[in-house]
């Protein structure tokens, strides 16, 4: 049976999920330290550095979170979500409290990860970022209203209405 590792990036409490007393490196390494069986220190280091590399933050290893901007803190949170090499990444409003420049940077990073093979499931209110998805589900009052898939050219193609979308899920 294939093992899926799911990481959740929930921006509803955003940067608050970073521990202020820990350096960037230790914040990202935190999930690995609680792994069973225990990981070797060198493995942890390699994983953390490669994860920080993906979000372009490896030069900030020794910084404390309060020395970073909001966008950088969000990237650290993403790096921590990536550090366990998850198969699926669940992302809730990753750009919610970022300006457009930082938001674009985060989205570019997610797009790159997706291109590398990671499945990303993102919740967003921003139609610009929603358009980057290959499959879109519109939600209304907690229910799926309709579904779109991107064609080869990137244009949306209507797939189904509410009832059939519910069935599809």
């Amino acid at each position: 049976m294939q093992k899926f590792v799911i990481a959740i990036l929930d921006s509803s409490f955003k940067s608050s999920i970073i521990i202020d007393e820990l350096s960037v490196f230790d914040n990202v390494a935190l999930p690995l330290r609680y792994r069973e069986p225990a990981m070797l220190a060198t493995d942890i280091k390699n994983e953390v550095l490669s994860s920080l590399e993906k979000v372009y933050m490896s030069h900030r290893c020794d910084h404390k979170p309060n020395q970073l901007s909001g966008g950088q803190q969000q990237r650290i949170a993403i790096a921590r979500a990536l550090v366990g090499n998850p198969t699926i990444l669940l992302v809730d409003e990753p750009t919610g409290n970022l300006d457009s420049k930082n938001g674009d940077a985060v989205m570019a990073m997610l797009a790159k990860l997706n291109a590398e093979g990671m499945t990303i499931c993102m919740v967003t209110h921003d139609p610009r970022y929603a358009d980057m998805a290959k499959r879109k589900l519109h939600l209304l009052d907690g229910l799926i209203a309709d579904e779109y898939r991107a064609d080869e050219n990137g244009a949306d193609e209507f797939v189904s209405n509410e009832a059939s979308a519910q069935e599809a899920l």
């Binding site: 409490f13 608050s16 999920i17 230790d26 935190l30 609680y34 792994r35 225990a38």
Partner: protein, 498 residues
Amino acid sequence: MKRFLRSLKFELSLAKSTLLNVPGFSATVIATLSVTLGALICIFSLNHVLMVKSLPYPNAENLLVVQHAYADGEGNSFSGYQSAPGMLLWYKNHKIFEKFSLVFDNKQLVADHPEQPNALINFVMPDYFSLLKPEMHLGRVLNATEGLDTHKTVVVLSYQTWQKWFQSDVNIIGNKTMIGHISYKVIGVTAESFIAAANLRSLKDVIVGDSTEVALLLLSGVIGLLLIAITNVTNLFLSRAAQKQRTMAIQAALGAKPNHLFIAMFAESLILTVIAGILGLLVAGWGFVLLSELAATQLPRISELGVDNATLLFTGSIVILLAAIFAKLSSRVVKYDKPQAQLQSSGKGRGLQVSKRTRHVLIAVQVALATLLLAGASIVIDQAFETVLHPLGFNEEDVYYLRVDRPKGLSYSPESLVGMNLLTLNIKSELEKLPQVVNVSRSIKPFIYKGSNSMGLTDRDEKRVGSYAFNMVDHDYFDILELPLVQGRTFTEQKDPR
């Protein structure tokens, strides 16, 4: 274990920086615990020395004290009746013991010292030293040629006596000193660490006696104090846990198990308790000095108090135990069943509140412990007051005691007694001439005298009725002390001193 140590190492480095961010909390915990631990370590050391540690002599458990006791056949026994011939008879005829030394301790004047100090002298035999094997600072101990009947007058000084009365003179070996009326040749000075067995049942029982009760009483007192300190510090740690709740909730959300959070809190509390333990050892060091200043005459073996392996082991264990208690109590605040709620509530003023019940229990424990300690202390103080304020039964106000020793060279004889009688009479009449002196009385012993100078009394049929302490006094004695007589009269003045 290896995993535990590795995560502890990581958490310690983290805790170090987080504790620096909360200096008030750290300082309060360290101050509270270091003073309490200092007192605890000090009293632990006292109990350890008195009850567990063997005496500082080789084969200490095989050393025995033999004392003569007189039994009257009716179930009464009286000790302290050794006679010199009786003791010599033991010495010459004993077959049970491998080595045997007679010991007689007495206070005598160091007559050729300008201050004529009254020093504690042990009259011993060469085997005393082969039993106790003291290390020597200078010279040597008595050898076989200085034993019984050799009439060699040699003395070994204790390091403390040598320092105090002989100016730490390194050339003292071979010099003579006058103790009482006899000139002794100094042959050695014991090392500073050697403790003379002045009052040699087992030797340990004789030396320690019933002072273990005092030591245990002190121990229960400091344990009560420690428990109060623990409840106080627990309260601080619960506040700290409230402060750390967000961090711990994030850790829990990222996969930290309860044991991870325990290690994280343990690292913090361990840093604080270890610092408190080290400071506590310093406080205990002062405690040892204080104890030896205040209680050296009441408690035996005080000079052996110090930071030894047992004390360090005890301190280490208590430090780890305390750290574990605080960590356990404060890591319990993370609710694993509601991690999300805990994370989202943080920073919105709905953070962790220590439950009312916990607070009530803490307060109740503190009040109960404090009451218990106060009650215990009041009993002890009450007894002390009773002893101090109990009327002595005689007038002691403005009464002074002057001791007159037999002059140098005057040995004990009927003639010397007459001489002393005349001398003290003269002193008395000279003193009476002074305007500030109202009355003078002469007696063989001071008014309050600890020790026994007792004689047996028999009735008309020569049947023993007991033994009574006695003193020889003159006719003014009862007037000065205002001792009431139940019947009869006091002495009249004896005109002829002979």
